[in-house]
Amino acid sequence: MKHTRHSSPEARQRADVRIRRLTRAAALTAAGATALIAVVVAKEHPGASSSAGASTGSDTTLAPSSSTSTSTSTTPTTSSTPATSGGTTTPTTSAPTTTTTTSPPTRTTTRPVVTSGGTSR
Protein backbone atom coordinates (compact mmCIF):
# COMPACT_ATOMS: atom_id res chain seq x y z
CA MET A 1 0.00 0.00 0.00
CA LYS A 2 1.27 3.45 -0.82
CA HIS A 3 0.33 4.86 2.56
CA THR A 4 2.35 2.32 4.53
CA ARG A 5 5.56 2.65 2.57
CA HIS A 6 8.56 4.38 4.07
CA SER A 7 9.58 7.40 2.05
CA SER A 8 13.24 7.49 1.16
CA PRO A 9 15.41 9.92 3.10
CA GLU A 10 15.76 11.93 -0.10
CA ALA A 11 12.01 12.11 -0.60
CA ARG A 12 11.54 13.13 2.99
CA GLN A 13 14.16 15.83 2.63
CA ARG A 14 12.47 17.15 -0.48
CA ALA A 15 9.17 17.20 1.36
CA ASP A 16 10.81 19.11 4.22
CA VAL A 17 12.12 21.73 1.86
CA ARG A 18 8.76 22.10 0.12
CA ILE A 19 7.03 22.59 3.44
CA ARG A 20 9.60 25.19 4.44
CA ARG A 21 9.06 27.09 1.22
CA LEU A 22 5.29 26.94 1.34
CA THR A 23 4.94 27.91 4.98
CA ARG A 24 6.99 31.02 4.32
CA ALA A 25 5.16 31.96 1.15
CA ALA A 26 3.00 35.01 1.18
CA ALA A 27 -0.67 34.29 0.74
CA LEU A 28 -1.36 37.95 0.41
CA THR A 29 0.27 40.31 -2.01
CA ALA A 30 2.23 43.13 -0.49
CA ALA A 31 -0.15 45.65 -1.98
CA GLY A 32 -3.13 43.74 -0.68
CA ALA A 33 -1.68 43.59 2.80
CA THR A 34 -0.94 47.28 2.82
CA ALA A 35 -4.46 48.06 1.73
CA LEU A 36 -5.87 45.75 4.37
CA ILE A 37 -3.82 47.38 7.10
CA ALA A 38 -4.91 50.81 5.91
CA VAL A 39 -8.54 49.81 6.17
CA VAL A 40 -8.07 48.44 9.66
CA VAL A 41 -6.23 51.44 10.92
CA ALA A 42 -8.79 53.76 9.38
CA LYS A 43 -11.80 51.99 10.76
CA GLU A 44 -10.36 50.44 13.91
CA HIS A 45 -12.45 47.48 12.93
CA PRO A 46 -10.84 44.26 11.75
CA GLY A 47 -12.23 42.63 8.66
CA ALA A 48 -14.36 39.60 9.38
CA SER A 49 -14.55 36.42 7.36
CA SER A 50 -17.74 34.47 6.94
CA SER A 51 -16.35 31.77 9.22
CA ALA A 52 -15.06 33.95 11.98
CA GLY A 53 -16.77 35.48 14.95
CA ALA A 54 -16.26 38.58 17.04
CA SER A 55 -12.99 38.82 18.88
CA THR A 56 -11.93 39.38 22.43
CA GLY A 57 -8.70 41.14 23.10
CA SER A 58 -6.40 42.36 25.78
CA ASP A 59 -3.14 44.17 26.21
CA THR A 60 -0.99 42.68 28.92
CA THR A 61 2.47 43.11 30.19
CA LEU A 62 4.38 40.00 31.07
CA ALA A 63 5.27 40.18 34.73
CA PRO A 64 9.01 40.08 35.25
CA SER A 65 10.04 36.68 36.43
CA SER A 66 13.10 34.58 36.35
CA SER A 67 13.59 31.11 35.07
CA THR A 68 16.42 28.76 34.57
CA SER A 69 17.13 28.01 30.98
CA THR A 70 17.42 24.35 30.17
CA SER A 71 18.64 24.91 26.69
CA THR A 72 21.80 23.23 25.59
CA SER A 73 24.72 24.57 23.65
CA THR A 74 22.95 23.61 20.46
CA THR A 75 20.22 26.13 21.10
CA PRO A 76 20.82 28.88 18.60
CA THR A 77 20.38 32.55 19.20
CA THR A 78 17.62 33.23 16.77
CA SER A 79 17.48 36.97 16.75
CA SER A 80 20.32 39.34 16.22
CA THR A 81 18.23 42.26 17.31
CA PRO A 82 16.93 43.17 20.74
CA ALA A 83 13.53 41.73 21.51
CA THR A 84 10.67 44.09 22.10
CA SER A 85 10.38 45.59 25.52
CA GLY A 86 8.11 48.06 27.19
CA GLY A 87 5.86 48.46 24.20
CA THR A 88 8.54 49.50 21.77
CA THR A 89 9.13 47.41 18.71
CA THR A 90 12.06 46.49 16.57
CA PRO A 91 11.26 46.60 12.86
CA THR A 92 13.20 43.51 12.01
CA THR A 93 12.02 40.09 11.01
CA SER A 94 13.64 36.74 11.39
CA ALA A 95 15.74 35.63 8.50
CA PRO A 96 14.54 32.51 6.73
CA THR A 97 16.81 29.54 7.05
CA THR A 98 17.25 26.44 5.00
CA THR A 99 17.27 24.02 7.92
CA THR A 100 14.14 22.05 8.64
CA THR A 101 15.01 21.33 12.23
CA THR A 102 14.63 23.59 15.19
CA SER A 103 15.89 23.79 18.71
CA PRO A 104 13.84 22.03 21.37
CA PRO A 105 11.61 24.05 23.66
CA THR A 106 12.82 25.12 27.06
CA ARG A 107 11.01 25.01 30.34
CA THR A 108 9.84 28.33 31.64
CA THR A 109 7.97 29.76 34.59
CA THR A 110 6.50 32.51 32.45
CA ARG A 111 2.73 32.45 32.26
CA PRO A 112 1.73 30.87 28.93
CA VAL A 113 0.15 33.15 26.36
CA VAL A 114 -1.67 30.26 24.66
CA THR A 115 -2.27 26.57 25.26
CA SER A 116 -1.37 23.85 22.79
CA GLY A 117 -3.50 20.76 23.07
CA GLY A 118 -6.21 18.89 21.30
CA THR A 119 -8.28 21.14 19.06
CA SER A 120 -11.31 22.02 21.10
CA ARG A 121 -14.49 23.69 20.00
Binding site: G57, S58, T60, P104, P105, T108
Partner: protein
Protein backbone atom coordinates in the same frame (compact mmCIF):
# COMPACT_ATOMS: atom_id res chain seq x y z
CA UNK B 1 19.65 32.62 34.39
CA UNK B 2 18.06 35.62 32.83
CA UNK B 3 15.49 38.08 33.90
CA UNK B 4 12.48 38.83 31.79
CA UNK B 5 11.83 42.51 31.46
CA UNK B 6 8.23 43.66 31.08
CA UNK B 7 7.06 42.95 27.56
CA UNK B 8 3.82 44.44 26.31
CA UNK B 9 1.71 41.88 24.48
CA UNK B 10 -1.52 42.46 22.62
CA UNK B 11 -3.79 39.40 22.38
CA UNK B 12 -6.80 38.92 20.13
CA UNK B 13 -8.95 35.77 20.02
CA UNK B 14 -11.97 34.87 17.93
CA UNK B 15 -13.93 31.87 16.73
CA UNK B 16 -13.01 30.56 13.30
CA UNK B 17 -13.12 27.31 11.33
CA UNK B 18 -14.69 25.40 14.21
CA UNK B 19 -12.15 26.40 16.83
CA UNK B 20 -10.47 29.39 18.44
CA UNK B 21 -7.86 31.49 16.68
CA UNK B 22 -5.51 33.70 18.67
CA UNK B 23 -2.85 36.18 17.72
CA UNK B 24 -0.37 37.62 20.20
CA UNK B 25 1.99 40.37 19.18
CA UNK B 26 4.69 42.22 20.96
CA UNK B 27 3.48 45.77 21.10
CA UNK B 28 -0.06 47.04 20.87
CA UNK B 29 -0.95 46.56 17.23
CA UNK B 30 -3.51 43.86 17.89
CA UNK B 31 -6.15 45.09 15.45
CA UNK B 32 -3.94 44.93 12.38
CA UNK B 33 -2.53 41.57 13.43
CA UNK B 34 -6.04 40.22 13.88
CA UNK B 35 -7.08 41.47 10.46
CA UNK B 36 -4.15 39.72 8.82
CA UNK B 37 -4.91 36.47 10.64
CA UNK B 38 -8.56 36.67 9.69
CA UNK B 39 -7.56 37.12 6.06
CA UNK B 40 -5.35 34.00 6.08
CA UNK B 41 -8.11 32.00 7.74
CA UNK B 42 -10.63 33.23 5.22
CA UNK B 43 -8.41 32.14 2.33
CA UNK B 44 -8.05 28.62 3.70
CA UNK B 45 -11.72 28.36 4.62
CA UNK B 46 -12.93 29.42 1.18
CA UNK B 47 -10.55 27.06 -0.57
CA UNK B 48 -10.19 23.98 1.65
CA UNK B 49 -13.22 23.57 3.92
CA UNK B 50 -14.93 20.18 3.76
CA UNK B 51 -18.05 21.74 5.20
CA UNK B 52 -18.71 24.52 2.74
CA UNK B 53 -20.41 23.47 -0.48
CA UNK B 54 -18.96 26.56 -2.12
CA UNK B 55 -15.39 25.78 -1.08
CA UNK B 56 -13.03 25.57 -4.02
CA UNK B 57 -11.91 22.06 -3.10
CA UNK B 58 -15.37 20.87 -4.16
CA UNK B 59 -14.37 21.63 -7.74
CA UNK B 60 -11.54 19.14 -7.35
CA UNK B 61 -13.95 16.51 -6.05
CA UNK B 62 -16.43 17.25 -8.82
CA UNK B 63 -13.70 17.00 -11.41
CA UNK B 64 -12.14 13.83 -10.01
CA UNK B 65 -10.46 11.79 -12.69
CA UNK B 66 -9.27 14.79 -14.66
CA UNK B 67 -6.91 17.71 -14.12
CA UNK B 68 -8.60 20.67 -12.46
CA UNK B 69 -6.99 24.09 -12.34
CA UNK B 70 -7.15 25.66 -8.90
CA UNK B 71 -6.19 28.89 -7.17
CA UNK B 72 -2.71 29.44 -5.80
CA UNK B 73 -4.05 29.22 -2.26
CA UNK B 74 -5.63 25.81 -2.75
CA UNK B 75 -2.68 24.52 -4.73
CA UNK B 76 -0.29 25.48 -1.94
CA UNK B 77 -2.51 23.79 0.66
CA UNK B 78 -2.64 20.65 -1.48
CA UNK B 79 1.10 20.68 -1.98
CA UNK B 80 1.64 21.00 1.77
CA UNK B 81 -0.80 18.15 2.41
CA UNK B 82 1.05 15.86 0.02
CA UNK B 83 4.45 16.90 1.38
CA UNK B 84 3.29 16.10 4.91
CA UNK B 85 2.14 12.68 3.72
CA UNK B 86 5.51 12.02 2.11
CA UNK B 87 7.32 13.23 5.21
CA UNK B 88 5.32 10.93 7.50
CA UNK B 89 5.45 7.89 5.22
CA UNK B 90 1.73 8.30 4.57
CA UNK B 91 0.66 8.31 8.23
CA UNK B 92 -0.94 11.71 7.65
CA UNK B 93 -2.74 11.37 4.34
CA UNK B 94 -5.12 13.89 2.74
CA UNK B 95 -7.23 11.20 1.04
CA UNK B 96 -9.12 10.41 4.26
CA UNK B 97 -12.13 12.62 3.50
CA UNK B 98 -14.55 9.75 2.91
CA UNK B 99 -13.36 7.95 6.05
CA UNK B 100 -14.05 11.02 8.19
CA UNK B 101 -17.49 11.45 6.69
CA UNK B 102 -18.27 7.78 7.27
CA UNK B 103 -17.52 8.29 10.96
CA UNK B 104 -19.94 11.19 11.09
CA UNK B 105 -17.46 14.04 10.83
CA UNK B 106 -19.29 15.47 7.88
CA UNK B 107 -20.14 18.89 9.25
CA UNK B 108 -18.52 21.55 11.39
CA UNK B 109 -17.44 19.93 14.64
CA UNK B 110 -19.68 22.27 16.64
CA UNK B 111 -22.66 20.60 14.99
CA UNK B 112 -21.71 16.98 15.62
CA UNK B 113 -23.91 15.34 18.20
CA UNK B 114 -24.06 11.78 19.49
CA UNK B 115 -24.88 9.45 16.62
CA UNK B 116 -27.48 6.83 17.43
CA UNK B 117 -26.97 4.51 14.48
CA UNK B 118 -24.29 1.85 14.82
CA UNK B 119 -20.96 2.85 13.37
CA UNK B 120 -20.56 2.04 9.71
CA UNK B 121 -18.10 -0.59 8.70
CA UNK B 122 -14.61 0.81 8.29
CA UNK B 123 -13.98 1.76 4.70
CA UNK B 124 -10.63 0.06 4.70
CA UNK B 125 -7.32 1.54 3.58
CA UNK B 126 -7.58 4.92 1.92
CA UNK B 127 -6.51 5.42 -1.67
CA UNK B 128 -3.34 7.20 -0.62
CA UNK B 129 -1.59 10.45 -1.38
CA UNK B 130 0.50 8.92 -4.17
CA UNK B 131 -2.62 9.08 -6.33
CA UNK B 132 -2.87 12.85 -6.02
CA UNK B 133 -1.25 14.40 -9.07
CA UNK B 134 -0.12 17.99 -8.73
CA UNK B 135 1.31 20.08 -11.56
CA UNK B 136 2.66 23.38 -10.33
CA UNK B 137 3.36 24.60 -13.85
CA UNK B 138 -0.31 24.47 -14.82
CA UNK B 139 -1.51 24.72 -11.21
CA UNK B 140 -3.71 21.70 -11.70
CA UNK B 141 -4.64 18.77 -9.51
CA UNK B 142 -6.08 15.38 -10.38
CA UNK B 143 -7.46 12.91 -7.89
CA UNK B 144 -9.02 9.51 -8.49
CA UNK B 145 -12.79 9.30 -8.91
CA UNK B 146 -14.63 8.85 -5.64
CA UNK B 147 -11.85 10.27 -3.48
CA UNK B 148 -12.54 13.14 -1.13
CA UNK B 149 -9.74 15.12 0.42
CA UNK B 150 -9.33 16.38 3.95
CA UNK B 151 -6.67 19.05 4.41
CA UNK B 152 -7.82 20.03 7.88
CA UNK B 153 -4.73 19.06 9.81
CA UNK B 154 -2.03 20.52 7.61
CA UNK B 155 -4.09 23.48 6.40
CA UNK B 156 -4.73 24.69 9.94
CA UNK B 157 -1.01 24.59 10.64
CA UNK B 158 -0.30 26.31 7.33
CA UNK B 159 -2.59 29.17 8.32
CA UNK B 160 -0.70 29.58 11.59
CA UNK B 161 2.66 29.65 9.81
CA UNK B 162 1.66 32.05 7.10
CA UNK B 163 -0.23 34.39 9.37
CA UNK B 164 2.62 34.58 11.88
CA UNK B 165 5.13 35.29 9.12
CA UNK B 166 2.86 37.81 7.46
CA UNK B 167 2.15 39.66 10.69
CA UNK B 168 5.79 39.73 11.75
CA UNK B 169 6.93 40.90 8.32
CA UNK B 170 4.38 43.66 7.98
CA UNK B 171 4.42 44.96 11.51
CA UNK B 172 8.10 44.38 12.11
CA UNK B 173 7.45 42.79 15.50
CA UNK B 174 7.35 39.36 17.07
CA UNK B 175 4.11 37.46 16.54
CA UNK B 176 2.51 34.25 17.76
CA UNK B 177 -0.50 32.71 16.07
CA UNK B 178 -2.51 29.81 17.44
CA UNK B 179 -5.24 28.09 15.48
CA UNK B 180 -6.90 25.53 17.69
CA UNK B 181 -3.71 25.01 19.65
CA UNK B 182 -1.40 24.71 16.64
CA UNK B 183 1.10 27.50 17.19
CA UNK B 184 3.53 29.36 14.92
CA UNK B 185 5.84 32.18 15.90
CA UNK B 186 7.79 34.62 13.76
CA UNK B 187 9.87 37.71 14.19
CA UNK B 188 11.85 38.64 17.28
CA UNK B 189 10.60 36.64 20.27
CA UNK B 190 10.20 38.00 23.80
CA UNK B 191 13.42 37.79 25.82
CA UNK B 192 12.60 34.34 27.20
CA UNK B 193 10.74 33.08 24.18
CA UNK B 194 7.04 32.53 23.66
CA UNK B 195 5.58 30.67 26.63
CA UNK B 196 3.11 27.97 25.58
CA UNK B 197 1.08 25.78 27.89
CA UNK B 198 0.67 22.08 27.15
CA UNK B 199 -2.63 20.41 28.03
CA UNK B 200 -5.02 17.83 26.61
CA UNK B 201 -7.43 20.57 25.54
CA UNK B 202 -6.24 23.74 23.85
CA UNK B 203 -8.93 25.71 25.68
CA UNK B 204 -7.32 24.91 29.05
CA UNK B 205 -6.65 28.11 31.04
CA UNK B 206 -3.05 29.10 31.61
CA UNK B 207 -3.21 28.26 35.30
CA UNK B 208 -4.25 24.65 34.64
CA UNK B 209 -1.83 23.47 31.95
CA UNK B 210 0.31 20.37 32.49
CA UNK B 211 3.55 21.99 31.45
CA UNK B 212 4.78 25.33 30.13
CA UNK B 213 7.54 25.52 27.56
CA UNK B 214 9.05 28.34 25.55
CA UNK B 215 9.92 28.44 21.87
CA UNK B 216 11.72 31.15 19.97
CA UNK B 217 11.02 30.22 16.35
CA UNK B 218 9.11 27.77 14.20
CA UNK B 219 6.05 26.05 15.58
CA UNK B 220 4.56 23.83 18.21
CA UNK B 221 1.51 21.65 17.61
CA UNK B 222 -0.45 19.09 19.58
CA UNK B 223 -2.76 16.29 18.56
CA UNK B 224 -5.17 14.53 20.86
CA UNK B 225 -7.46 11.53 20.69
CA UNK B 226 -9.56 12.70 23.63
CA UNK B 227 -10.79 16.16 22.73
CA UNK B 228 -12.20 16.17 19.22
CA UNK B 229 -14.07 12.92 19.67
CA UNK B 230 -17.70 11.88 19.54
CA UNK B 231 -19.94 8.85 19.99
CA UNK B 232 -21.18 6.67 17.19
CA UNK B 233 -23.49 4.08 18.71
CA UNK B 234 -21.57 2.60 21.61
CA UNK B 235 -18.23 3.48 20.13
CA UNK B 236 -16.10 6.53 20.82
CA UNK B 237 -14.35 7.79 17.71
CA UNK B 238 -12.07 10.72 17.01
CA UNK B 239 -10.91 12.78 14.08
CA UNK B 240 -7.45 11.34 13.40
CA UNK B 241 -7.79 8.66 10.76
CA UNK B 242 -5.36 5.80 10.34
CA UNK B 243 -4.99 5.61 6.55
CA UNK B 244 -4.22 1.90 6.83
CA UNK B 245 -7.65 1.10 8.29
CA UNK B 246 -9.84 4.03 7.27
CA UNK B 247 -11.01 4.37 10.86
CA UNK B 248 -9.97 6.36 13.93
CA UNK B 249 -6.43 5.60 15.02
CA UNK B 250 -6.14 3.47 18.12
CA UNK B 251 -5.97 5.87 21.09
CA UNK B 252 -2.63 4.58 22.35
CA UNK B 253 -1.54 8.19 22.87
CA UNK B 254 -3.99 10.67 24.31
CA UNK B 255 -1.84 13.71 23.56
CA UNK B 256 1.24 14.27 21.42
CA UNK B 257 2.98 17.65 21.20
CA UNK B 258 5.84 18.41 18.84
CA UNK B 259 8.08 21.31 17.90
CA UNK B 260 9.33 21.96 14.41
CA UNK B 261 10.87 24.41 12.01
CA UNK B 262 7.30 25.41 11.23
CA UNK B 263 3.88 24.64 12.62
CA UNK B 264 3.31 22.34 9.64
CA UNK B 265 6.47 20.39 10.53
CA UNK B 266 5.27 20.16 14.13
CA UNK B 267 1.71 19.22 13.26
CA UNK B 268 2.88 16.53 10.85
CA UNK B 269 4.71 14.69 13.62
CA UNK B 270 2.13 15.17 16.36
CA UNK B 271 -0.56 13.77 14.09
CA UNK B 272 1.60 10.99 12.68
CA UNK B 273 2.58 9.84 16.18
CA UNK B 274 -1.09 9.31 17.03
CA UNK B 275 -1.44 7.14 13.92
CA UNK B 276 1.78 5.24 14.56
CA UNK B 277 0.56 4.30 18.04
CA UNK B 278 2.89 2.03 19.98
CA UNK B 279 5.63 2.22 17.34
CA UNK B 280 5.70 6.02 17.41
CA UNK B 281 8.78 6.22 19.62
CA UNK B 282 10.78 4.25 17.06
CA UNK B 283 9.42 6.19 14.09
CA UNK B 284 10.00 9.57 15.72
CA UNK B 285 13.68 8.91 16.26
CA UNK B 286 14.22 9.37 12.54
CA UNK B 287 13.19 13.02 12.92
CA UNK B 288 15.26 15.70 14.56
CA UNK B 289 12.35 17.25 16.42
CA UNK B 290 11.38 17.55 20.08
CA UNK B 291 8.25 15.58 20.97
CA UNK B 292 6.22 14.93 24.14
CA UNK B 293 3.80 12.02 24.22
CA UNK B 294 1.19 11.12 26.83
CA UNK B 295 0.16 7.45 26.77
CA UNK B 296 -3.33 6.13 27.51
CA UNK B 297 -2.27 5.38 31.09
CA UNK B 298 -0.89 8.86 31.70
CA UNK B 299 2.78 7.97 31.28
CA UNK B 300 4.73 10.79 29.67
CA UNK B 301 7.56 10.26 27.16
CA UNK B 302 9.84 12.92 25.72
CA UNK B 303 12.17 12.84 22.74
CA UNK B 304 14.55 15.15 20.92
CA UNK B 305 15.33 17.37 23.88
CA UNK B 306 11.79 18.17 24.97
CA UNK B 307 12.12 19.10 28.67
CA UNK B 308 10.74 16.65 31.17
CA UNK B 309 7.75 17.55 33.29
CA UNK B 310 8.24 19.05 36.71
CA UNK B 311 9.39 22.28 38.20
CA UNK B 312 12.17 23.99 36.30
Amino acid sequence: MSTLAGTMLATRSFRAIGTTATVVVAGTDGAVAEALLRHEIDVIDRTCSRFRPDAEIESVHAGAGRAVQVSAGLFDALEVGVAVAERTHGAVDPTVGNALSALGYDCDFDEIGPRTPPPPAALGPVVGFAHIHLDRRTRTVRIPRGVRLDLGSSAKALVADRAATRIADHLGIGALVSVGGDVAVAGPPPPEGWAIGIAADSSTPAADVDQTVAIRRGGLASSSTSVRSWSVGNERVHHIIDPATGSSAEPYWTLVSACGASCVHANALSTAAIVWGARALDELRAFDQAVRLVRYDGAVFTLGGWPTDGAP
